[in-house]
Symmetry: C2
Amino acid sequence: MSETIEPISAMAAELNRLPGIGKKTALRLAYFVASMPLEDVRSLSVALWEGRKAIRFCETCGNYAAGPTCAICADAARHNGQLCVVRDPRDVAAMERMHAYSGLYHVLHGTLSPMDGIGPDQLRIKELIARLEKGDVREVILATNPDVEGEATASYLARLLKPFGVRVTRIAHGVPVGGDLEYTDEVTLQKALEGRREV
Amino acid sequence: MSETIEPISAMAAELNRLPGIGKKTALRLAYFVASMPLEDVRSLSVALWEGRKAIRFCETCGNYAAGPTCAICADAARHNGQLCVVRDPRDVAAMERMHAYSGLYHVLHGTLSPMDGIGPDQLRIKELIARLEKGDVREVILATNPDVEGEATASYLARLLKPFGVRVTRIAHGVPVGGDLEYTDEVTLQKALEGRREV
Protein backbone atom coordinates (compact mmCIF):
# COMPACT_ATOMS: atom_id res chain seq x y z
CA MET A 1 0.00 0.00 0.00
CA SER A 2 1.50 3.26 -1.08
CA GLU A 3 -0.13 5.09 1.87
CA THR A 4 1.86 3.09 4.41
CA ILE A 5 5.28 4.39 5.40
CA GLU A 6 8.24 2.08 5.06
CA PRO A 7 8.85 1.02 8.70
CA ILE A 8 5.18 0.01 9.06
CA SER A 9 5.00 -1.86 5.77
CA ALA A 10 8.26 -3.66 6.64
CA MET A 11 6.75 -4.77 9.97
CA ALA A 12 3.55 -5.84 8.21
CA ALA A 13 5.50 -7.86 5.62
CA GLU A 14 7.23 -9.82 8.38
CA LEU A 15 4.05 -10.37 10.42
CA ASN A 16 2.28 -11.53 7.25
CA ARG A 17 4.56 -14.59 7.24
CA LEU A 18 2.98 -15.95 10.42
CA PRO A 19 0.16 -18.49 10.01
CA GLY A 20 -3.35 -17.05 10.08
CA ILE A 21 -2.03 -13.47 9.78
CA GLY A 22 -3.22 -12.16 6.41
CA LYS A 23 -2.21 -8.87 4.80
CA LYS A 24 -4.95 -6.84 6.51
CA THR A 25 -4.30 -8.30 9.97
CA ALA A 26 -0.55 -7.84 9.50
CA LEU A 27 -1.06 -4.18 8.66
CA ARG A 28 -3.40 -3.70 11.61
CA LEU A 29 -0.84 -5.31 13.94
CA ALA A 30 1.98 -3.23 12.44
CA TYR A 31 0.00 -0.05 13.11
CA PHE A 32 -0.57 -1.25 16.65
CA VAL A 33 3.13 -1.97 17.16
CA ALA A 34 3.88 1.52 15.80
CA SER A 35 1.71 2.96 18.59
CA MET A 36 3.15 0.76 21.37
CA PRO A 37 5.62 2.21 23.89
CA LEU A 38 9.21 1.61 22.75
CA GLU A 39 9.91 -0.53 25.80
CA ASP A 40 7.03 -2.91 25.03
CA VAL A 41 8.19 -3.38 21.45
CA ARG A 42 11.67 -4.11 22.72
CA SER A 43 10.38 -6.83 25.03
CA LEU A 44 8.25 -8.38 22.25
CA SER A 45 11.17 -8.33 19.85
CA VAL A 46 13.59 -9.75 22.42
CA ALA A 47 11.15 -12.46 23.55
CA LEU A 48 10.80 -13.72 19.97
CA TRP A 49 14.50 -13.71 19.18
CA GLU A 50 15.80 -14.94 22.54
CA GLY A 51 12.92 -17.42 22.79
CA ARG A 52 13.69 -18.90 19.40
CA LYS A 53 17.39 -19.13 20.22
CA ALA A 54 16.59 -20.93 23.49
CA ILE A 55 14.57 -23.67 21.77
CA ARG A 56 16.32 -27.05 21.94
CA PHE A 57 15.01 -30.47 21.05
CA CYS A 58 14.96 -33.28 23.60
CA GLU A 59 17.77 -35.71 22.66
CA THR A 60 15.53 -38.65 23.50
CA CYS A 61 12.08 -37.89 22.13
CA GLY A 62 12.56 -34.83 19.90
CA ASN A 63 10.08 -32.66 21.82
CA TYR A 64 10.89 -29.01 22.53
CA ALA A 65 13.14 -28.74 25.56
CA ALA A 66 14.88 -25.99 27.46
CA GLY A 67 17.88 -28.28 28.10
CA PRO A 68 19.16 -31.58 26.66
CA THR A 69 16.13 -33.55 27.95
CA CYS A 70 12.48 -32.47 27.94
CA ALA A 71 10.39 -32.36 31.11
CA ILE A 72 8.43 -35.44 30.06
CA CYS A 73 11.44 -37.68 29.42
CA ALA A 74 13.03 -36.41 32.65
CA ASP A 75 9.98 -37.55 34.65
CA ALA A 76 10.78 -41.08 35.88
CA ALA A 77 7.09 -41.74 36.65
CA ARG A 78 6.29 -41.61 32.95
CA HIS A 79 8.62 -44.43 31.90
CA ASN A 80 5.74 -46.92 31.79
CA GLY A 81 6.55 -48.74 28.55
CA GLN A 82 4.18 -46.68 26.39
CA LEU A 83 5.51 -44.57 23.52
CA CYS A 84 3.21 -42.22 21.64
CA VAL A 85 4.50 -41.33 18.16
CA VAL A 86 3.44 -37.89 16.89
CA ARG A 87 4.34 -35.64 13.99
CA ASP A 88 5.64 -32.59 15.81
CA PRO A 89 6.04 -30.95 19.23
CA ARG A 90 2.68 -29.16 18.88
CA ASP A 91 1.02 -32.56 18.90
CA VAL A 92 2.76 -33.39 22.17
CA ALA A 93 1.24 -30.23 23.64
CA ALA A 94 -2.20 -31.25 22.33
CA MET A 95 -1.91 -34.72 23.86
CA GLU A 96 -0.71 -33.29 27.17
CA ARG A 97 -3.67 -30.94 27.35
CA MET A 98 -6.04 -33.89 27.79
CA HIS A 99 -4.19 -34.94 31.00
CA ALA A 100 -4.99 -38.61 30.34
CA TYR A 101 -1.78 -40.03 28.88
CA SER A 102 1.03 -40.85 31.24
CA GLY A 103 3.63 -42.47 28.95
CA LEU A 104 6.44 -41.05 26.85
CA TYR A 105 6.50 -39.55 23.35
CA HIS A 106 8.49 -39.82 20.18
CA VAL A 107 8.36 -36.85 17.83
CA LEU A 108 9.02 -37.67 14.15
CA HIS A 109 9.40 -34.03 13.05
CA GLY A 110 7.30 -34.62 9.94
CA THR A 111 5.40 -37.31 8.12
CA LEU A 112 6.28 -39.32 5.03
CA SER A 113 5.67 -37.23 1.95
CA PRO A 114 7.54 -38.54 -1.11
CA MET A 115 6.24 -35.62 -3.20
CA ASP A 116 8.12 -33.21 -0.93
CA GLY A 117 11.17 -35.44 -0.77
CA ILE A 118 10.47 -36.54 2.80
CA GLY A 119 11.26 -40.23 3.20
CA PRO A 120 12.00 -42.34 6.31
CA ASP A 121 15.55 -40.94 6.52
CA GLN A 122 14.27 -37.38 6.95
CA LEU A 123 12.19 -38.37 10.00
CA ARG A 124 13.38 -39.42 13.46
CA ILE A 125 12.72 -43.11 12.71
CA LYS A 126 16.28 -44.35 13.36
CA GLU A 127 16.00 -42.83 16.83
CA LEU A 128 12.66 -44.60 17.35
CA ILE A 129 14.20 -47.97 16.41
CA ALA A 130 17.09 -47.28 18.78
CA ARG A 131 14.64 -46.72 21.63
CA LEU A 132 12.82 -49.96 20.83
CA GLU A 133 16.11 -51.88 20.77
CA LYS A 134 16.73 -50.90 24.37
CA GLY A 135 13.74 -53.11 25.19
CA ASP A 136 11.87 -50.89 27.67
CA VAL A 137 8.96 -50.25 25.31
CA ARG A 138 5.87 -52.48 25.44
CA GLU A 139 3.48 -50.45 23.27
CA VAL A 140 3.88 -47.94 20.46
CA ILE A 141 0.80 -45.75 19.93
CA LEU A 142 0.76 -44.26 16.44
CA ALA A 143 -0.83 -40.82 16.82
CA THR A 144 0.05 -39.16 13.53
CA ASN A 145 -2.74 -37.06 12.01
CA PRO A 146 -5.65 -38.81 10.26
CA ASP A 147 -4.69 -37.35 6.86
CA VAL A 148 -3.03 -38.98 3.85
CA GLU A 149 0.57 -38.46 5.02
CA GLY A 150 -0.26 -39.32 8.62
CA GLU A 151 -1.99 -42.57 7.63
CA ALA A 152 0.84 -43.53 5.27
CA THR A 153 3.39 -42.89 8.01
CA ALA A 154 1.38 -44.92 10.52
CA SER A 155 1.10 -47.89 8.09
CA TYR A 156 4.80 -47.71 7.32
CA LEU A 157 5.73 -47.65 11.01
CA ALA A 158 3.28 -50.44 11.86
CA ARG A 159 5.01 -52.76 9.35
CA LEU A 160 8.47 -51.62 10.43
CA LEU A 161 7.88 -52.05 14.18
CA LYS A 162 6.00 -55.38 14.26
CA PRO A 163 9.25 -57.45 14.22
CA PHE A 164 10.32 -55.88 17.51
CA GLY A 165 7.58 -57.80 19.30
CA VAL A 166 5.94 -54.65 20.73
CA ARG A 167 2.23 -53.91 20.66
CA VAL A 168 1.61 -51.34 17.88
CA THR A 169 -1.69 -49.43 18.07
CA ARG A 170 -3.31 -46.61 16.13
CA ILE A 171 -5.53 -43.93 17.69
CA ALA A 172 -9.23 -44.38 16.89
CA HIS A 173 -11.02 -42.57 14.09
CA GLY A 174 -14.68 -41.77 14.55
CA VAL A 175 -17.33 -39.17 15.09
CA PRO A 176 -15.91 -36.36 17.26
CA VAL A 177 -17.57 -35.93 20.65
CA GLY A 178 -20.17 -33.19 20.31
CA GLY A 179 -20.24 -33.77 16.54
CA ASP A 180 -23.30 -34.44 14.45
CA LEU A 181 -23.83 -37.53 12.28
CA GLU A 182 -25.54 -35.38 9.66
CA TYR A 183 -22.45 -33.24 9.18
CA THR A 184 -19.85 -36.00 9.47
CA ASP A 185 -18.11 -36.91 6.21
CA GLU A 186 -18.56 -40.41 4.78
CA VAL A 187 -15.01 -41.58 5.42
CA THR A 188 -15.14 -40.64 9.10
CA LEU A 189 -18.56 -42.26 9.44
CA GLN A 190 -17.25 -45.44 7.82
CA LYS A 191 -14.28 -45.46 10.23
CA ALA A 192 -16.66 -44.92 13.15
CA LEU A 193 -18.75 -47.90 12.04
CA GLU A 194 -15.70 -50.11 11.54
CA GLY A 195 -14.38 -49.13 14.95
CA ARG A 196 -17.67 -49.86 16.77
CA ARG A 197 -17.40 -51.54 20.16
CA GLU A 198 -19.78 -53.54 22.30
CA VAL A 199 -21.42 -51.55 25.08
CA MET B 1 0.05 -24.09 30.45
CA SER B 2 2.38 -26.31 32.34
CA GLU B 3 3.07 -28.38 29.20
CA THR B 4 4.66 -25.44 27.42
CA ILE B 5 8.36 -24.84 27.93
CA GLU B 6 9.50 -21.45 29.13
CA PRO B 7 10.83 -19.89 25.89
CA ILE B 8 7.57 -20.71 24.10
CA SER B 9 5.30 -19.49 26.87
CA ALA B 10 7.37 -16.28 27.09
CA MET B 11 6.88 -15.70 23.36
CA ALA B 12 3.16 -16.45 23.69
CA ALA B 13 2.79 -14.02 26.60
CA GLU B 14 4.26 -11.21 24.51
CA LEU B 15 2.24 -12.03 21.39
CA ASN B 16 -0.91 -12.18 23.54
CA ARG B 17 -0.54 -8.41 24.10
CA LEU B 18 -1.27 -7.66 20.45
CA PRO B 19 -4.87 -6.82 19.52
CA GLY B 20 -6.96 -9.74 18.30
CA ILE B 21 -4.33 -12.27 19.43
CA GLY B 22 -5.90 -14.33 22.21
CA LYS B 23 -4.14 -16.89 24.39
CA LYS B 24 -4.71 -19.79 21.99
CA THR B 25 -3.61 -17.86 18.90
CA ALA B 26 -0.59 -16.53 20.77
CA LEU B 27 0.45 -20.06 21.72
CA ARG B 28 -0.10 -21.30 18.17
CA LEU B 29 2.04 -18.43 16.83
CA ALA B 30 4.72 -19.07 19.46
CA TYR B 31 4.91 -22.73 18.41
CA PHE B 32 5.19 -21.60 14.82
CA VAL B 33 7.97 -19.16 15.66
CA ALA B 34 9.74 -21.98 17.52
CA SER B 35 9.73 -23.98 14.29
CA MET B 36 10.85 -21.12 12.03
CA PRO B 37 14.45 -20.96 10.77
CA LEU B 38 16.59 -18.84 13.10
CA GLU B 39 17.26 -16.34 10.32
CA ASP B 40 13.54 -15.70 9.73
CA VAL B 41 12.92 -15.09 13.43
CA ARG B 42 15.83 -12.67 13.47
CA SER B 43 14.37 -10.68 10.58
CA LEU B 44 10.90 -10.62 12.21
CA SER B 45 12.36 -9.50 15.52
CA VAL B 46 14.58 -6.86 13.90
CA ALA B 47 11.74 -5.54 11.69
CA LEU B 48 9.55 -4.96 14.74
CA TRP B 49 12.21 -3.29 16.84
CA GLU B 50 13.93 -1.26 14.11
CA GLY B 51 10.53 -0.46 12.57
CA ARG B 52 9.19 0.88 15.85
CA LYS B 53 12.33 2.91 16.44
CA ALA B 54 12.06 4.44 12.94
CA ILE B 55 8.49 5.70 13.52
CA ARG B 56 8.34 9.48 13.70
CA PHE B 57 5.34 11.76 13.70
CA CYS B 58 4.92 14.45 11.08
CA GLU B 59 5.64 17.78 12.77
CA THR B 60 2.80 19.41 10.86
CA CYS B 61 -0.11 16.98 10.88
CA GLY B 62 0.87 14.28 13.40
CA ASN B 63 0.66 11.42 10.90
CA TYR B 64 3.30 8.68 10.91
CA ALA B 65 6.35 9.82 9.02
CA ALA B 66 9.77 8.44 8.19
CA GLY B 67 11.29 11.91 8.52
CA PRO B 68 10.21 15.26 10.02
CA THR B 69 7.37 15.68 7.49
CA CYS B 70 4.99 13.01 6.21
CA ALA B 71 4.59 12.24 2.51
CA ILE B 72 1.17 13.89 2.43
CA CYS B 73 2.25 17.22 3.94
CA ALA B 74 5.34 17.18 1.71
CA ASP B 75 3.16 16.96 -1.39
CA ALA B 76 2.59 20.55 -2.58
CA ALA B 77 -0.36 19.46 -4.76
CA ARG B 78 -2.34 18.59 -1.64
CA HIS B 79 -2.23 22.05 -0.07
CA ASN B 80 -5.74 22.88 -1.31
CA GLY B 81 -7.18 24.49 1.81
CA GLN B 82 -8.91 21.35 3.08
CA LEU B 83 -7.94 19.85 6.43
CA CYS B 84 -9.38 16.51 7.51
CA VAL B 85 -9.27 15.99 11.29
CA VAL B 86 -8.96 12.34 12.40
CA ARG B 87 -8.28 10.51 15.62
CA ASP B 88 -5.11 8.63 14.75
CA PRO B 89 -2.72 7.74 11.91
CA ARG B 90 -4.66 4.55 11.14
CA ASP B 91 -7.59 6.74 10.15
CA VAL B 92 -5.36 8.62 7.72
CA ALA B 93 -4.50 5.29 6.11
CA ALA B 94 -8.22 4.42 5.89
CA MET B 95 -9.04 7.76 4.26
CA GLU B 96 -6.15 7.42 1.82
CA ARG B 97 -7.32 3.97 0.76
CA MET B 98 -10.42 5.48 -0.84
CA HIS B 99 -8.24 7.59 -3.19
CA ALA B 100 -10.88 10.36 -3.24
CA TYR B 101 -9.54 12.98 -0.83
CA SER B 102 -6.80 15.27 -2.01
CA GLY B 103 -6.38 17.67 0.92
CA LEU B 104 -4.28 17.54 4.08
CA TYR B 105 -4.86 15.90 7.46
CA HIS B 106 -4.62 16.77 11.10
CA VAL B 107 -4.21 13.87 13.51
CA LEU B 108 -5.47 14.51 17.05
CA HIS B 109 -3.86 11.38 18.57
CA GLY B 110 -6.99 10.59 20.56
CA THR B 111 -10.46 11.88 21.25
CA LEU B 112 -11.89 13.73 24.22
CA SER B 113 -12.56 11.30 27.04
CA PRO B 114 -12.85 13.03 30.43
CA MET B 115 -13.30 9.64 32.16
CA ASP B 116 -9.79 8.65 31.03
CA GLY B 117 -8.37 12.08 31.82
CA ILE B 118 -8.10 13.05 28.16
CA GLY B 119 -9.07 16.69 27.72
CA PRO B 120 -8.29 19.20 24.95
CA ASP B 121 -4.74 19.69 26.24
CA GLN B 122 -3.90 16.02 25.70
CA LEU B 123 -4.86 16.21 22.02
CA ARG B 124 -3.10 18.02 19.19
CA ILE B 125 -5.65 20.86 19.26
CA LYS B 126 -3.17 23.70 19.88
CA GLU B 127 -1.35 22.59 16.73
CA LEU B 128 -4.64 22.63 14.82
CA ILE B 129 -5.37 26.19 15.94
CA ALA B 130 -1.85 27.22 14.92
CA ARG B 131 -2.45 25.84 11.43
CA LEU B 132 -5.73 27.75 11.16
CA GLU B 133 -4.04 30.96 12.28
CA LYS B 134 -1.72 30.74 9.29
CA GLY B 135 -4.80 31.38 7.18
CA ASP B 136 -4.31 28.80 4.41
CA VAL B 137 -7.22 26.62 5.53
CA ARG B 138 -10.69 27.12 4.01
CA GLU B 139 -12.44 24.01 5.30
CA VAL B 140 -12.00 21.71 8.28
CA ILE B 141 -13.62 18.29 7.81
CA LEU B 142 -14.27 16.61 11.17
CA ALA B 143 -13.75 12.88 10.54
CA THR B 144 -13.53 11.51 14.06
CA ASN B 145 -15.32 8.20 14.60
CA PRO B 146 -19.12 8.17 14.92
CA ASP B 147 -18.97 7.01 18.55
CA VAL B 148 -19.58 8.92 21.79
CA GLU B 149 -16.02 10.26 22.14
CA GLY B 150 -15.73 11.00 18.43
CA GLU B 151 -19.01 12.93 18.36
CA ALA B 152 -18.13 14.87 21.51
CA THR B 153 -14.75 15.78 20.03
CA ALA B 154 -16.37 16.88 16.77
CA SER B 155 -18.90 19.08 18.59
CA TYR B 156 -16.18 20.60 20.73
CA LEU B 157 -14.00 21.36 17.70
CA ALA B 158 -16.95 22.74 15.72
CA ARG B 159 -17.63 25.33 18.45
CA LEU B 160 -13.93 26.08 18.89
CA LEU B 161 -13.17 26.57 15.18
CA LYS B 162 -16.21 28.58 14.05
CA PRO B 163 -14.64 31.93 15.13
CA PHE B 164 -11.77 31.40 12.67
CA GLY B 165 -14.15 31.97 9.79
CA VAL B 166 -13.44 28.58 8.16
CA ARG B 167 -16.06 26.18 6.89
CA VAL B 168 -16.40 23.34 9.44
CA THR B 169 -18.05 20.15 8.20
CA ARG B 170 -18.73 16.70 9.65
CA ILE B 171 -18.62 13.47 7.62
CA ALA B 172 -22.06 12.05 6.91
CA HIS B 173 -23.71 9.33 8.95
CA GLY B 174 -26.04 6.93 7.20
CA VAL B 175 -26.70 3.46 5.95
CA PRO B 176 -23.40 1.89 4.79
CA VAL B 177 -23.23 1.10 1.08
CA GLY B 178 -24.10 -2.57 0.63
CA GLY B 179 -25.89 -2.49 4.01
CA ASP B 180 -29.44 -3.56 4.65
CA LEU B 181 -32.15 -1.33 6.15
CA GLU B 182 -33.52 -4.29 8.07
CA TYR B 183 -30.25 -4.76 9.94
CA THR B 184 -29.39 -1.08 10.42
CA ASP B 185 -29.70 0.21 13.99
CA GLU B 186 -32.26 2.91 14.76
CA VAL B 187 -29.76 5.67 15.46
CA THR B 188 -28.00 5.18 12.13
CA LEU B 189 -31.33 5.02 10.34
CA GLN B 190 -32.42 8.24 11.99
CA LYS B 191 -29.15 9.91 10.95
CA ALA B 192 -29.65 8.62 7.41
CA LEU B 193 -33.12 10.13 7.30
CA GLU B 194 -31.96 13.46 8.74
CA GLY B 195 -29.14 13.59 6.22
CA ARG B 196 -31.34 12.85 3.20
CA ARG B 197 -30.60 14.81 0.04
CA GLU B 198 -32.58 15.68 -3.05
CA VAL B 199 -31.86 13.47 -6.03
